[in-house]
C-alpha cells in the first residue's frame, strides 16, 4: 500500500432501491463508489476522509445506454469504453466520444464511469464540456423521489454539486442535436492519461448561414466546468461570413476564471482557451453551414 488505508465499511446493495434506502437512512454517511478510478487514488494514499462506501457494482439497471426518439440516456455506470463503442453516440454525440477517448487510456476507460466523472466534481474532467455543449440533464434520485436538473446547474462550486446528501446521480440525458457542427479539443501534456490544461467543446446549428443554436462548454478554466454564456451571446444570430472572433475572445474572459496550478498557469489558460475558441470559430465559419461536412464521424 502507498498509505495505510483506514478501516472502512463497504455495502454492496443489490438494487437501486436498496442503495437509495441506505443513503436515505444515513444521508451523507455512505460515499457512492462506481468504477473507483478517481476515488481509489486518494483512498489508497490515505488522503480520503470517507470510510464508508456504497459500491454500486451490482446496480445493473444503471449500465445501459438507452436510445429513444429524440434522446439518448446514459445510466450513471456507463463506462467510457461503452460511450466510445456505441453507434448512436458516435453518430449523434461525437464530442462525447472524443471526451471518452481522451479520458485516461484503455484501462481507465474500461472502469471509469460517466456518472462518476460528473459526481466527482473535478473542473478538469473531460466529459463535462461535451455535456454542457449538448445541453444535457442529470437525474438525481433519492427515497424522496426523482428530479431532473439541467447539467449546467449541477456543479455549484469546486468539488460541490447540487446533489443532496441522500441523492445519487442515476442518469444523464441528452436531447439528440439536429445536424450541426461539433467541436472538441483538449489541451494536455500528452494525448493519453494527461489531465487537461484546458478543454473546450461546442455545438452549433446553422440555418441559411446564420448561427441559430450555439453552446460552448469549457473545463479546467474555473472552479467548475463552465458554460460560456457570454461567448454564446456574441455568436448567436451572427452570420458565418462575419463571426466576431475578437469580441468572442473578449467575452470568453468574462466566462472563465482560471488559476495557476501544478498543470498550468492562469495566463496560459486564458491565452490558449482564446486560441482554441478562435480555432473553433474558424472551423465553424469554414464549415459553410452544410451540416454533413462538419459532423465528423469518429
Amino acid at each position: 500500500m502507498r498509505g495505510d488505508a483506514p478501516p472502512c465499511q463497504v455495502q454492496v446493495p443489490g438494487s437501486l432501491g436498496e442503495a437509495l434506502l441506505l443513503m436515505g437512512q444515513e444521508p451523507g454517511r455512505w460515499r457512492p463508489l462506481a468504477g473507483g478510478t478517481d476515488l481509489m487514488v486518494p483512498f489508497a494514499a490515505g488522503r480520503l476522509e470517507a470510510t464508508r462506501f456504497l459500491s454500486l457494482q451490482r446496480l445493473d439497471e444503471l449500465r445501459a445506454i438507452e436510445v429513444e426518439p429524440g434522446t439518448i440516456t446514459f445510466g450513471t455506470l456507463v463506462t467510457y469504453s461503452q460511450v466510445r463503442q456505441h453507434g448512436a453516440v458516435q453518430r449523434h454525440l461525437p464530442n462525447l466520444v472524443q471526451s471518452a477517448k481522451v479520458t485516461g487510456a484503455v484501462a481507465i476507460q474500461n472502469r471509469g464511469t460517466l456518472g462518476g466523472n460528473l459526481a466527482n466534481g473535478s473542473p478538469a474532467a473531460d466529459s463535462p464540456p461535451s455535456l454542457l455543449a449538448y445541453g444535457a440533464e442529470v437525474e438525481l434520485a433519492s427515497v424522496r423521489g426523482v428530479r431532473w436538473v439541467p447539467y449546467e446547474a449541477f456543479h455549484t462550486g469546486y468539488k460541490r454539486t447540487a446533489m443532496a446528501a441522500d441523492e445519487l446521480l442515476t442518469r444523464i440525458r441528452v436531447t439528440v442535436p439536429a445536424p450541426g457542427f461539433h467541436f472538441y479539443r483538449k489541451v494536455g501534456t500528452r494525448a493519453a492519461q494527461a489531465v487537461a490544461k484546458i478543454c473546450l467543446a461546442a455545438f452549433a446549428r446553422v440555418e441559411d448561414g446564420i448561427v441559430r443554436e450555439f453552446r460552448v462548454g469549457l473545463g479546467s478554466v474555473a472552479p467548475t466546468p463552465v458554460r460560456a454564456r457570454s461567448v454564446e451571446a456574441a455568436i448567436l444570430g451572427r452570420s458565418l461570413d462575419d463571426l466576431p472572433v475578437r469580441a468572442a475572445r473578449e467575452a470568453l474572459l468574462a466566462d472563465i476564471a482560471p488559476i495557476d496550478d501544478i498543470r498550468s498557469t492562469a495566463r496560459y489558460r486564458r491565452t490558449v482557451a482564446g486560441n482554441v475558441l478562435a480555432q473553433m470559430l474558424a472551423e465553424l465559419a469554414g464549415s459553410n453551414g452544410d451540416p454533413q461536412s462538419f459532423c465528423q464521424p469518429q
Binding site: A5, C8, L33, V41, V106
Partner: protein, 160 residues
Amino acid sequence: MNQGEMRLEVTVNGVPRTVAAYPMARLLDVLRDGLGLVGTKEGCGEGECGACSVIMDGKLVNSCLVPAVQAQGAQILTIEGLAQGGSLTRLQQAFVTCNGAQCGFCTPGMVLAAADLLRRCPDPSEAEIREGLAGNICRCTGYVKIVDAVRQAGAPPVRP
C-alpha cells in the same frame, strides 16, 4: 481472517482461489501479497503507468484502482497465466525477438495491454498500437521495440 476482512473468491489464471481481503484493499495487493503473484507490478499506484495492468472479466484494468470488493467472483488473467505449459505465447515471443523489454518492470503490464489490444484488433496499425498501449509507460526503451513486438505478433503469419 481479520475483523473487517471479506472472503474474496476469484478465478486467477483459470484456478479458483479464495483469499481473505479487506473490501477496499487494492486488487494489486491481493494478487501480490494475498496470492503471491508478484508478476503484477506497482509503478505509480495512481492508474497512470499501467505497470499493474491485469485482465479482469475480459477487460484490461489497472489493478491498483480496483477495490477487492469489486473483484468478487471475477475471472482474472495476470502475466503468470499467459504462457501455457511453459511455452511463450506468440506475443511474448515477439517481445523477446524484438528486444521489447529492457529493465522489464513495465513488461508484464505492457504485454497484457498488448494482448488485450490484439484480442480486440488482431492486426493493429502503428497508431492503433500506440493508442492501445498509451496507458503503459516504459522509462527505458522509447517504445519503438515494444511497438515492433506488437506489430510482429499481430502480423498475419507468412504463408509459403
